[in-house]
């Protein structure tokens, strides 16, 4: 009884440490003015860097990152909702192959894939542009949306749609009044997955977007290679916020049965 309690407490402490120790150092660094070896704590704390960052590029990076994420999410959903519905409901030939194709960009090391894509995009004049970054994000994000939405549509019993169809509703009407409303929780989930993916995407953004397109992860990378650890820490903290908020929402909506459907695709 007591040993179990002790074990549980030890586990809690360990987990807390693993999660919050790196975070606390981020927080600490973000308020540091001067911190040099061998001092265990910063010698001087200040809001100097927060002020500097918020007045500077961070805001611009945040803005363009959000805009890209919104466009990527909208475009991905417009493409994948009909596609996922087709894959879930109709005897599409080579279904498994189609689903695997979307996984392909994730199956190989990211760097060579994106470097090749970048050279390709240079040829069609899309590199270092906003649309190029949107495209490269969609390549990575499609798999999340297609797989989740296919699983969601498949979890809706077909008889629910047949009932509407049978009562005189057209296929489109049936989709809009029955399938889509029932898929809403899954739709919200895949929206959030895609949005977060786009917001956090780094490799593709850096390679394709440089030097003109600046998102938060790229901004963080640039500042940290410039040894401005304070600025990088602040960027990291800011970048974490939308993720945290959205993940809480996601957790509410992503029903376990959708996840279990993945196995049956």
């Amino acid at each position: 009884m007591f040993t179990r309690l002790a074990l549980r407490m030890a586990a809690t402490v360990l987990v807390t440490f693993v999660i919050f120790a790196p975070l606390s150092s981020l927080v600490l660094w973000s308020f540091t003015r001067r911190w040099s070896w061998p001092h265990p704590f910063p010698q001087e704390l200040a809001l100097f860097y927060w002020r500097k960052v918020l007045e500077g590029d961070l805001f611009r990076a945040l803005q363009s990152g959000f805009l890209i994420a919104v466009i990527v999410t909208a475009a991905t959903l417009v493409l994948t909702v009909p596609l996922a519905y087709l894959l879930a409901r109709y005897p599409v030939p080579f279904k498994a192959v189609i689903l695997l194709v979307f996984l392909l960009p994730h199956a190989f090391p990211q760097l060579p894939v994106f470097v090749n894509t970048t050279t390709l995009l240079y040829r069609v004049n899309l590199a270092a542009s906003f649309s190029g970054v949107v495209l490269i994000h969609m390549v990575g994000a499609l798999v999340y949306a297609v797989w989740t939405m296919t699983a969601v549509f498949r979890s809706i019993p077909e008889s629910l749609e047949e009932a509407a169809w049978n009562l005189g509703a057209s296929r489109l009407k049936t989709f809009l009044t029955v399938a889509l409303p029932l898929a809403t929780p899954g739709l919200v989930a895949s929206t959030l997955l895609v949005f977060l993916y786009s917001l956090d995407e780094f490799t593709g953004t850096l390679l394709v977007g440089s030097p003109f397109v600046l998102t938060l992860p790229v901004y963080m990378y640039r500042t940290s290679v410039g040894y401005e650890l304070q600025v990088a820490s602040i960027a990291a903290l800011v970048l974490m916020l939308p993720g945290l908020v959205l993940l809480v929402v996601l957790e509410r909506h992503l029903k376990s049965e959708y996840l279990s459907m993945f196995g049956r695709l």
Binding site: P157, S159, L160, E162, A163, A164, W165, N166, L167, G168, A169, S170, K173, T177, V178, P181, L182
Partner: protein, 345 residues
């Protein structure tokens, strides 16, 4: 609306689900399509609704051929096995769905929904209408599903094992309800079931199917008392089967010979119901119109309304039901000649 199908064929790969089915469904009548799972009864129903595109044959609603029409243009309404109520809508919205598609004014929709919910005896209508289907019991959900189908005044009502998800008591009550509603509305109804008792109880006409073909159709009484094949006899009720050899004037079963005047010759199957047979402990002369079989009583079970006796006859075990218990040992099984069916094996 009279419904006819002519030579319907449907194949799934190498499996033939419908193998040239021709049937007429009387206007205003309830036809039960009965058969074991995989016999094609559900495929037949779904092809009537338009969910299944047939490979051959014609479907006619009255004079109109509907074979090529999509489901939404057929004017049928289906009641599904798992209710298929929309969980994201209230009971009212579920029932109103078909009416709203027809662009009826709101007041009309409301009036008709209330009337049909009243017809299916859902209970306190105002309370139920604003609930979600998941908050209702299975029986109530199926009543809502019935209301949703009936409210659009369909040409044909299709029921796909509508009661098989309910427990025995509710099933019995709803069975009578479905029959009452169908008669009250006077609609042509086609009812698919694998439960022979349900089919006999509810239908004007029973169609028995097996392996994609119609085996026999007729009134419940006809099907029950005059089965035309071993399959029909077997499928309708607790039956005994004995293998024998039919000859002129008699059937040999092992060492025993029973009088027989029918036309079957050679290897044959004898079938009679457990309820039609009776037991006697001593050898007795065959009463007029009865056939006697000698056997040994092995086991007796009390089933509540009857005692079921298991009797070994020439190496096979048969069942005989009786209101009085009989003790084990050698017995004589009496079967009325009229109830003994002989089919070529």
């Amino acid at each position: 609306m009279e419904v006819r199908v002519e030579g319907l064929v449907k194949r799934y790969g190498r499996v033939t689900a419908l193998d040239g089915v021709s049937l007429g469904f009387a206007s205003g009548g309830l036809t039960a399509i009965l058969g074991p799972s995989g016999c094609g009864k559900t495929t037949l129903l779904r092809s009537l609704a338009g969910f299944v595109a047939v490979d051959g044959g014609r479907i006619l609603f009255g004079p109109e051929e509907v074979t090529a029409l999509p489901p939404q243009a057929r004017g049928t309404a289906m009641v599904f096995q798992h209710y298929a109520l929309w969980p994201h809508m209230t009971v009212f919205d579920n029932v109103a769905y078909g009416l709203r598609l027809r662009k009826l004014p709101d007041a009309d929709v409301r009036r008709r929904v209330e009337r049909v919910l009243d017809l299916v005896e859902i209970g306190r209508i105002t309370g139920v209408m604003q609930r979600r289907p998941a908050e209702l019991s299975g029986g109530q959900q199926q009543r809502v599903a019935l209301a949703r189908a009936l409210v659009v005044e369909p040409r044909v009502l299709l029921l796909d094992e509508p009661l098989s998800n309910l427990d025995a008591k509710v099933r019995q009550r709803l069975r009578a309800e479905v029959r009452r509603l169908q008669k009250a509305v006077g609609i042509t109804a086609i009812y698919v079931t694998h439960d022979q008792e349900e089919a006999l109880a509810i239908a004007d006409t029973v169609v028995l199917m097996n392996a994609g073909r119609v085996v026999q159709s007729g009134s419940p009484q006809e099907i029950y008392s005059r089965p035309e094949s071993a399959f029909t006899a077997e499928f309708l009720g607790v039956s005994n089967q004995l293998a024998g050899i039919a000859e002129a004037g008699g059937v040999r079963i092992g060492a025993q010979r029973l009088p027989y005047a029918g036309a079957v010759r050679g290897r044959a199957t004898l079938i009679f119901r457990a309820t039609d047979a009776s037991l006697a402990t001593d050898e007795e002369e065959a009463a007029p119109g009865h056939t006697l079989l000698r056997g040994v009583l092995e086991e007796r079970l009390f089933l509540g309304s009857v005692y079921r006796h298991y009797v070994r006859v020439e190496g096979e075990t048969i069942m005989v039901d009786g209101t009085e218990p009989v003790e084990g040992g050698p017995v004589t099984v009496r079967v009325p000649v009229a109830k003994l069916q002989v089919y070529a094996a």
